[in-house]
Symmetry: C2
């Protein structure tokens, strides 16, 4: 199903556009303009002449040009009439933000059916109603109620909750995850979760598909689509309504029966869908899948600046089903030549806090070259420069003593330079050996770091790095079996 007019429209009619700052007709329109939408916008409001510097039209039919999608924020009872105007004008799609439909009871249910039937008569595809909106970064489309403007990337996300969806977009934004498309599917009066997944599957701008699902009207269709799409791109799901309490809440929220958790679990697995254990993990996986190659096997090599994190990481890997393998003899011998005699002589490679950084580069390369290592977790050796810079600032402004500012700045630059070199090295090794190398370090609030243009993936805890590596391997298995 082609949904380009929704996610990459050339022109938009905005019904309910308003000069009243408190109305969604203002807030969503302002988000859209402020986001830098690349196409034309035709605000519609019978009472206004200008809104946000744009000429206003009294109704859809008086717009003199073709319209790809109409955004509607007017009250529920006005929407069917608007849709029927859209049918007359031959508009192919609508984003119905208006609430007051099936989520409010019987009257709303009737309104929704009328609206959807009218749309069907003109082959209009409907997002919503009761959607929080749509994002399409390739045309700078931010048709959304929430204060989020994700950066451009290859992750596309369909959420059955606008609330969960937009908050995860915001969290994702703060972690440096780039999104291609987002949709809050709302009441799914017309387009369903699986329709968006099918579209994302075909979409050349999407490499990873995220979905938050509470319930499915047509489980068989969802699974058929997922089975096909998951052979091409990873689908990562977080399911709401996994427990009795959650299912009860979901029934009240989206009105859909959440169904037996075990049935969902096994059906999702058979369809090749990757499950996220938490909303946090959904974002961790989005980042990892969008940037890292998959390991060919489950054998992991760990390198760490200090011993403790190595222990925590080895635990996390084994718990996730990965093998922390013995290093080959040749690797131990090579490492013996460059590390202090009391290094761990095993996996994890414990660099025992050595301050000379050159052996760290060599050790990482040796580990990556190991023929029995499929994926690497690197702890603490890259990503420290931001923490270091913060310390430097404290030293420079200290009133207790004086250290020459040039010296402190020189130190900070040096650490930054080492981080940049590491980033470059990591990306070279990934390209040469095709193995994922995942960092873990306290440094970033965000999870993706860029040093002099070299982007690498770093998680704030080793447990997250281990989880992502295990799930990359899970997806590799899904592809191998299909």
């Amino acid at each position: 199903m082609n949904l380009d007019t929704i996610f990459k429209p050339k022109s938009i009619a905005f019904i309910g556009a308003s000069n009243n700052y408190m109305k969604w007709g203002f807030i969503v329109l302002a988000n859209l303009i402020q986001g830098g939408y690349k196409g034309r916008i035709f605000p519609v409001n019978p009472k206004e002449k200008k809104i946000l510097n744009l000429d206003v039209y009294s109704d859809v039919l008086s717009i003199p040009e073709p319209v790809d999608v109409v955004i509607i924020t007017t009250p529920a009872e006005t929407v069917t009439k608007i849709i029927s105007d859209c049918v007359k004008k031959g508009i192919p799609s609508a984003i119905v933000i208006s609430a007051g439909f099936s989520e409010t009871g019987e009257t709303g249910k009737k309104l929704e059916k009328e609206m959807v039937d009218t749309a069907a008569s003109g082959n209009i595809k409907i997002v919503g109603p009761n959607t929080m909106g749509v994002v399409g970064t390739s045309v700078n489309l931010s048709a959304i109620m929430a204060p989020v403007q994700p950066t451009s990337g290859t992750v596309s996300f369909v959420s059955q909750s606008g609330n969960v969806g937009t908050q995860l977009l915001a969290l994702g934004e703060s972690r440096g995850i780039g999104f291609s498309k987002f949709v809050s599917s709302g009441n799914e009066g017309d387009l369903k979760c699986e329709d968006y997944i099918e579209y994302f599957g075909e979409d050349t701008e999407t490499n990873v598909i995220l979905t938050y699902v509470e319930g499915l009207d047509n489980g068989r269709k969802f699974l058929d689509i997922a089975r096909k799409v998951s052979r091409k791109k990873p689908i990562v799901i977080f399911k709401g309504g996994q427990t009795n309490a959650g299912a009860t809440a979901a029934a009240s929220h989206t009105g859909v029966l959440a169904g037996k958790q075990e049935i969902y679990e096994s059906a999702f697995k058979q369809a090749g869908i990757i499950k996220a254990a938490s909303t946090d993990e959904l974002l961790d996986l989005a980042l990892g899948f969008s940037k890292l190659p998959m390991p060919v096997g489950k054998r992991v090599g760990i390198i760490t600046w200090g011993g403790g994190w190595g222990v925590v990481t080895a635990d996390a890997c084994e718990k996730m089903g990965l093998d922390v393998v013995k290093l080959p003899e040749w690797a131990i011998s090579e490492l013996d030549k460059i590390l202090p005699p009391y290094w761990s002589r095993g996996n994890p490679i414990d660099l025992v806090g050595t301050t000379d950084r050159r052996p760290h580069f060599q050790a990482l390369e040796i580990l990556t070259r190991c023929e029995n290592v499929d994926g690497i977790i690197a702890l603490g050796i890259v990503g420290a420069s931001s923490a270091f810079a913060a310390l430097g600032e404290r030293f420079k402004t200290s009133r207790a003593f004086e250290i020459p500012a040039e010296f402190v700045d020189g130190m900070i630059k040096m650490v930054e330079r080492v981080d940049a070199k590491f980033a470059k090295k990591i990306n070279e090794l990934i390209r040469e050996f095709g193995k994922p190398i995942i960092g873990a370090s306290i440094a970033p609030q965000e999870s993706k770091l860029k040093y002099e243009g070299e982007e690498i993936i770093i998680y704030p805890t080793p447990e997250k790095a281990a989880t992502v590596l295990a799930k990359l391997y899970e997806y590799r298995n899904i592809l191998d079996k299909s």
Copy 2:
């Protein structure tokens, strides 16, 4: 065991103090001075006269005043002689940062034994050797190798890994967790993990005890102490070496056998120790235990601005063993009066995105008053102001259109005022009903928010809030059974 001279020393001798910026004798001393240590510092170095503006002494014995603790960064083979000087001077304690002891092999093991035996002859208590240092915020003591300076608070933390410990301190700092004391226990040549726990148990500045443990020399003693201390204060543990891979890494790291995981698990449980499932969770629990009352039962009430997070939270609560109870009839009736007719009419209380904030206050109070609700999770209703302010800034600087800056600033102030009122309300309700109220909101990178002086606890995901509530209840049970 009283360890005040280590964590609250009145005076410090620093052996190995240096003017060389690249040496630990400079870095740790600079951290100490820059941190604003309240006592006197006597740097010791036979070759220097002044270091960081301080008068330097040629050896410990030439210091003309009493010394509470000596910090040592000189090479391992010099330490025993220094300790024997400390015995002569009657110094009660030492922090041995120097490495090169039992962690490096047989020769180091001998050096460590000599040093410890010498200390014992003068009743000197030793931290380390091979420790990354000690923090004591009540006297601004930052005797630590890593670039962290935690803010003051009531959490005390002993870590068998300096690496894990200092990185968690830094992460904790960025989340607004206040620490009282921290120690990297190093090789535990003298003082062991359990000695610090015993001391923290008696320490009036400590309300919550964190510990990262890899292995125990004397499990029985550890458990005896933990059993006593956990009756007074929560002890939260993260155990490294839970799996074969982790235990192997731990054996190489601290040289201690990690032991059977199941035995540890059940022993810790019997001793009333709270287990953290990840390093991330250790920090979440530190925050929750330091600020929130414990619920008397496991019945939870959820209030949410939007439906989806309510579903996710209900799931998370049930998975953690909490009961998402039915609300009493009187509460439903009262809520019917203030919420739109299509509100969820159940638990979670779904505020269905209503933009009038006044009913949110009333609904939170009604939920807290429910006689069958022991703890509350509040989603999205407080903590939005920072996200909102970021949006406001974008709107003010937009080149696409103009919104009066005063209007935007007015809106931001309004949202901030609502957040501040909510914080005040939450703290009033906590005081009146003694029930924990935990927020979850995308807003904070940090987990603790302060609005006009009212501090409340907010986690970035509802799963974290549910976990903390469940663990607070677990500790309540531990206290009730003891």
